[in-house]
Every structure is written in structure tokens, then in C-alpha cells.
Symmetry: C2
């Protein structure tokens, strides 16, 4: 993959033909409340700039001057740090409805780089240059704080995952998080098209690629998933959920005695 340059200002524009993909509606967007505080009418959101990223394209790089918070509306983005020995460390994946760049608002520069994993649509709010009434600005800031609180709790739960769960549990948790709302809706099985490589997943979960592969195979042999490249099916979501939670499994084992 050739390293693409950061997008130019010119690049950000209204996208009128959003591919064949469906875009997440504003209602499900993590920045929606933020948008509302800036402009009550969902029909006229001139302050929001929409943009489109080709697969592998860089949204911003680490250390680059801050130019706004992004919301993914379609596709997927990874944020990552460049480690000393020119390896990279994936920090997070961002899917439709997620925000990107919140950790940079108070700093004036992005902490990590962000790159599209596939054809991706984003909305941008240049939160550093918002001009509204004081009353609205107050709400706007409150929404920023709410969004950052969510992000913070997300990172904390990720830290807990990395400390307490083994490779298999991490993978189960990860797959279920990708399935997202379907899981909570009580679905038994879900088909996924992963936007990221095995390498990125392994990197994100803190395991070796080989370990990831082996565990994918094991889960497949056990009939919990089907795996064929980036096409992954979660065949038994209840069983995967049981795997994902270390505490409950121990409780179940205790009962079996």
C-alpha cells in the first residue's frame, strides 16, 4: 500500500453521489447532537463539510495541525500511531456513527494518524472555529464534553479488555462489537465484511497475526463462525457472547461441578 498524502482542503466538499453504499442517517451519528446545537435545521447544515476518502487514503497524520472533528457516515477508518521502529500501532477503528479526532480538540494537533480502510464518507466540524450565539455555544461545548466522555469510557473498557481477556475472548468481543446493534437486537447470526486486514485486527487486539489466524480457525472448527478472508459470519452469537465474558464462563464452570 503506497502512503497517500493527507487530503487537501479542496478535497472536502459536498458529496452528492455517495457510491452504492448507504450512509448512516444523522440520527445515528455520534456528532448529531453537536450538529443540532450549531444549526437546528437538519436541512441546512452549512457548517458541516462532507468529504469522501478513497480506500487507503489518509484523513490526517499524527502531529498535523487540528482541522476539525470527523464523523464517519459510511465506510471505516483506523487511527494509528507510528512506533519508533517504523511499525505501526492501531489505536482504534471507527465505523459509521463514530467520531474521529476528539482527542485532538484541546491540543491543536492530531495525536494519531487516521486512514480510510475502504471507500469512506465523513462529516467534518471545525470545532475550533465555531461561531454561534453564546447560548448555543454553551450547548455545543456540553455536547463536546459528552462526546469526549463517551470516548473516554470506550478507551477505558478497551484497557480492561486488554488486561483481563485472553486472545480468544478478545477476538470474540471484537467480532461482536463489529456486529453492533444486531447483537443487542437478539440476532442469532450475522454476516460481516471486514474492512480491515488480519494484521490490523491482530495489531489492534494486541496479539500476533498467527495467533489470530489459529483462533479464527478454531472458532470455525467449533462452528461459531465462518471465515473466508474478510468475509466472516458469526454463526452462533450466544456462544460467542459466552466466550467473550470471562467472569460468566468461570461461573458456568463452577455450576458444572
Amino acid at each position: 500500500m503506497s502512503k497517500s498524502n493527507a487530503v487537501s482542503e479542496q478535497w472536502l466538499r459536498e458529496v452528492t453521489t455517495p457510491l452504492g453504499q448507504s450512509r448512516v442517517p444523522c440520527r445515528q451519528c455520534g456528532l448529531n447532537d453537536l450538529c443540532d446545537t450549531l444549526e437546528p435545521s437538519p436541512d441546512d447544515r452549512s457548517f458541516v463539510q462532507r468529504g469522501r476518502l478513497g480506500s487507503g487514503q489518509l484523513l490526517f497524520s499524527a502531529g498535523e495541525p487540528f482541522h476539525g472533528v470527523y464523523a464517519v457516515t459510511s465506510g471505516a477508518i483506523k487511527t494509528y500511531a507510528a512506533l519508533d521502529n517504523d511499525q505501526e500501532q492501531v489505536v482504534d477503528f471507527h465505523f459509521p456513527g463514530d467520531t474521529v479526532g476528539l482527542d485532538a480538540v484541546d491540543r491543536g494537533a492530531y495525536t494519531y494518524a487516521a486512514r480510510a480502510l475502504s471507500e469512506t464518507l465523513v462529516c467534518r466540524i471545525d470545532v475550533a472555529n465555531v461561531h454561534v450565539t453564546d447560548e448555543r455555544f454553551r450547548e455545543f461545548q456540553s455536547e463536546m464534553i459528552r462526546a469526549m466522555g463517551e470516548q473516554l469510557r470506550h478507551e477505558q473498557s478497551l484497557s480492561i479488555l486488554l488486561r483481563k481477556q485472553n486472545a480468544e475472548q478478545r477476538i470474540a468481543t471484537f467480532l461482536l462489537s463489529l456486529a453492533g446493534p444486531s447483537v443487542w437486537a437478539g440476532a442469532q447470526s450475522v454476516d460481516l465484511k471486514l474492512p480491515m486486514s488480519r494484521k490490523d485486527i491482530a495489531n489492534y487486539l494486541g496479539v500476533a497475526v498467527e495467533t489470530l489466524c489459529r483462533l479464527f480457525k478454531r472458532l470455525q472448527d467449533e462452528g461459531l463462525i465462518s471465515s473466508q478472508g474478510r468475509q466472516v459470519g458469526l454463526l452462533n452469537i450466544p456462544a460467542l457472547s459466552a466466550l467473550a465474558r470471562p467472569a460468566e464462563r468461570k461461573a458456568a464452570e463452577a455450576c458444572a461441578l
Copy 2:
């Protein structure tokens, strides 16, 4: 350790006799800028409530209604989650100058429990009930955003640590972070009195207590630290720093070939 109850409202009061401990000055406090926006005069900060916690005392418990953001000015606090199988997961340690409870401001309830690891002094700002001019409130919110951004980046770098570093590197990093500014000031050695148990450290770093012990011993045998219960000396900070960084070590090995 008997579970203490959460402190009552009455408990929070101005502390006029702060033990034998030295308190961190406001200038070095993570909430200082926040205080400044609320009340320009450092002599009259009536909105800040000071409090004192006995060793092992609970500051707040998980799920408890939010009653403010805290700053540690002396002592130490751990935040932790209660896992299903009545184990606990340490989320973070908080030392003088650090903030506690920022992840709860937008939520109305604390996400994790917070407990004093030793005799501890804190300042509280009930950020949900701040009454100042619009102009000041704006600054106040900006400071909240800045504080949360810092916290967010802290969590992110912790996640990277948990993914990329082995037990030895985690411990080295942890010890150096405890030494804090001394390290950056170029100190060669530092003596530490750890406020937390081995169990808590191991839990925080995501390793078994036994592993932690063994590695403490190894570091001691190698002359990098002295370890006698909670009295720990960092004898060779440059060497510990080298251990802590995985990339540089590999680079050094490559040069040696």
C-alpha cells in the same frame, strides 16, 4: 480490608491541618486552570471543597450519582471496576495533581469506584452546578475539554502499552511513571514508597502477582532496582528507561549485530 461506605456529604470540609504530608501546590494541579476560570483569586476559592480520606476509604462507588470532579493533592487514589465474579479490575491510579471522575461528568453517575490507597487529600469541584458569568462558563467548559483530552490521551497510551509491551517493560514503564518529574529532570536514581499493593499493581498492569514478584526480583538481581515491600528504589533510571521502550531495544540489538 473491610469495605468502607462512601463518604457522606458532611465529610467534605476545609482541612486546616493537613497531616504531616505536603500538599501539591495549586500550580501543579490538573484542575488549576479550571479553578482559575471559576475564581480568579487563588485566595478565595469557596467553590472548591477540600476533603480528607482515610486509608482504604471510598471516595465514591460505581454507579453512584455524580457529585463532582476531584483533584488529588496528597496521597493516592485507585479507580476500579467490580467484575462479575467479584474480582476487581484496577482502572487507574491517581496521584497528586491528577484528576478523578472526569469520565462521569457527562453521565450523571460514576463509571468506576474510587478508593484512597493511603491518607489522602482531595479538592472537589461540583462541575454540574457551576454558576458564573457566561464568559467565564465558556472558559470553564474549555478547561473541562482540555482536561478530558489529556485523560483520553492518557488512556490511549495505556492501551498501547498493554498491547505492545511485555511484563518487564510494563513494570519498568510503571515504575518510571511513578518517579514522575524526577525522571525528566535527569535523576539517576529515585526512592519510592509505593502506596498500593503488589496485587493492585499486577492487576493494573494486566499480569499475575507472581509474575510481578519474579520480575521485581530479576530487576533487583540486575541491580536496576531495590525492592523491599513497598519501599522501592530505582537505582538505574537510564537502564530502566531503555527497558521500557521496546522499539529502541530492538534497534540497539540490530546495531550490535
